[in-house]
Amino acid sequence: MLTFILRRIVQTLVVIVILSYVCFGLMTLMPGDPVELMISANPRISAEDVTRLREFYGLDQPLIKRYYTWISDISKGELGYSRTYRIPVTEMMGPALTATFILSITSLLFSLIIAIPLGIVCALKPNSKVDYIANLFSFAGISVPSFWLGIVLIIIFAVNLRWLPAGGYQTTGLAYENIFQELMDKAKYLILPMVSLSVQSIGRFSRFTRSAMLEAMRNDYIRTARAKGLSNRVVIFQHGFRNALIPLITIIAISFSSIFSGALITETLFAYPGVGRLIYSSIIGNDFNVAMVAFVVSVSAVLIMSLVSDILYGVVDPRISYK
């Protein structure tokens, strides 16, 4: 068990280091490096100035050396400045991470609340009409492009019905009187992104719950429990669902990374100020410092999340042995 955990930790760390290096290398392939941008901003810049600037920013050094300087700066806590906003990257990362965290967690909870009962109902009445319709919706949920669903939701609820705001994080210029009002206001902005982000996981979770539950209800101990005269509810939840829960936890752990992937597009579409949008806009806007840090930090966060859930998995199910 301990060796397994240690190996997983080392593995995750290695992936993070390699990833950050590869990503650093990829950033140099982006159209326009910092000095090229300065040249285009100031066409009368002289050739000597260009070489001087390149030297100043270390752009004449080989890639590995530049990476080393960058990573040692990062480890000292100096994340650099955003070229677009002229503020330290540290100041941008905090709020963005919080916003993405809120969006991801609410959408994960929302999809679980809908998907698990749906999956259980389908598993208890397989091949019924309910099962058939739920199956259709699950497939639609998996297949629908979430950004398109977001656009449709905006058209319906923001443009036509005017019930909810089309995008953003909170009402601008509004001074909150109390915490309740603040929560209500922010929740209003969270609904549409959350729904459009959840649809895919609802489809995946409900299909998975259904098959896991079907598998669990086929076991002999279910028949024994029924023969013992236990009530239907006890059989379903205590004996069936608790066993179906184990495979469900894996799929939730795996879905962290896909939810974060989806959050990037959803945040961009709804102008929600999360990390995903930060990565996208900084890459589009040639803001390399921000792009690098946001990318590496958020991907590492996802990897660490799945590491933690992997370890927890063993705690939930003592039957699993790690080799």
Binding site: M30, F139, S143, P145, I151, V152, F260, S261, L269
Partner: protein, 401 residues
């Protein structure tokens, strides 16, 4: 009455038994299993329709007289089912082309147009250009009155003075239907290409890892696991935003014409082979211990023969499922990247970049934003159902007799 019913029933039973006793090949069994999954069959038909429409795009273009590129800025955001008059520039270029093609015949036509007082140009050379400014019906009437061997060509030109847009026009006045049809080619083409290519990569990696085991296996599977654990979208964005021309080797493959499509296929392949690799490795690990492999090994089969002749046929079926599901996924990723402006670059239409343009226009033309997404939904749902049906069909556990 009763006896008659009984005999028919018995006959039916006999026929059924005879059918059951007849040996069925594995394909027949799989096919009959597949047919029972109604949604998968419907999905297969939907995909077939899309493929046929996409392949016959040039034919449709010829038949309707519309194309995906011609712009008409005076008629932007037209609702579906509208008739639109072509702009002066479009009419004049088609006349110019006609004059360049038939210089002698043009003189005759010009003379006739003027002598019959159908047009009153300032200079005789402008007669045809003036004719081009008429309404479609008037222009048609004029052709009927004059005597020329090029009547059908002129009619074809006059036909293009007005166009009928079944699905309306987009932000540059282009026909939405034709763009969607050409977008189908691009989006489905990319999806299928990526799924096939990544299946090939996955097959190779999985086979090598599973067959040789040891250090190679550990190394390859670590790489696979690492790639699988990454959140795909941010990674894809970072790679897609790169200028791959800066890498000397790749710049030779990417030519300027369809650079964005090839680049996208390349990037998507790079990050979608992992599930196939794991699948293939798993099956090959179990196949390796089977007797028939041992048998052919003792007969002196080389590794290459063992892998390609004896193992690949056994992994094709599960791979087929994962390729089918992969097509849907690749279409979604293509659409997502193009939607962010990092995938297929306009003017080449794809469903994703049509949505990219449309997202800013939801007030003026909500219709533009809805259609491409619906097509994506239909196609991916069909591929997913097809994959599901195939999985049920080839899974021996699910076989019902």
């Amino acid at each position: 009455m009763n006896t008659a019913q009984n005999t028919t029933q018995k006959a039916q039973q006999k026929a059924q038994i005879a059918k059951m006793e007849k040996a069925q090949t594995i394909t027949q069994i799989v096919y009959s299993q597949f047919k029972e999954h109604k949604a998968a069959v419907i999905g297969a038909y939907v995909i077939l329709i899309f493929v046929v429409v996409a392949l016959s795009a040039p034919l449709i273009e010829k038949f309707t007289g519309l194309d995906a590129e011609s712009q008409n800025v005076f008629n932007r955001y037209r609702p579906p089912m509208t008739r639109v008059k072509a702009g002066t520039d479009v009419r004049e270029t088609s006349i110019q082309r006609f004059i360049d093609a038939n210089p002698e015949e043009v003189l005759i036509i010009q003379n006739q147009l003027i002598s019959q007082q159908l047009v009153k140009p300032i200079r005789p050379e402008d007669a045809l250009y003036d004719w081009a400014q008429l309404d479609r019906t008037k222009a048609m009437d004029a052709i009927d009155l004059i005597d020329t061997s090029k009547k059908s060509e002129l009619r074809a030109i006059a036909n293009r003075f007005e166009s009928f847009h079944i699905l309306g026009t987009d932000e540059l006045g282009r026909d939405v239907m034709m763009r969607l049809i050409y977008g189908t080619r691009v989006s489905m083409g990319v999806g299928i290409l990526v799924a096939l290519a990544s299946a090939l990569i996955g097959l190779l990696v999985g086979a090598v890892a599973g067959f040789y085991g040891g250090f190679i296996d550990t190394l390859l599977m670590r790489v696979t696991d690492a790639l699988l654990s990454l959140p795909l979208m941010p990674v894809l964005i970072v790679v897609a935003a790169d200028d791959l021309q800066k890498i000397p080797f790749i710049s030779r493959i990417l030519t300027s014409g369809n650079e964005s499509i090839l680049k996208l296929v390349l990037i998507l392949c790079l990050f979608s082979w992992m599930s196939v690799a794991r699948l293939v490795r798993g099956s090959i690990l179990s196949l390796r211990e089977r007797e028939f492999i041992l048998a052919s090994k003792t007969l002196g089969a080389t590794d290459y023969t063992l892998i390609t002749r004896h193992m690949f046929p056994n992994v094709i079926a599960p791979m087929l499922v994962s390729v089918t599901l992969g097509v849907g996924e690749s279409i979604l990723f293509e659409a997502a990247l193009s939607f962010l402006g990092l995938g297929i670059q306009p003017p080449t239409p794809s469903w994703g970049n049509m949505l990219f343009n449309a997202q800013e226009l939801i007030y003026q033309a909500p219709f533009l934003a809805i259609l491409p997404g619906l097509l994506i939904l239909f196609v991916t749902i069909s591929f997913n159902y097809l994959g599901d049906g195939l999985q049920d069909a080839i899974d021996p556990k699910a076989m019902r007799r």
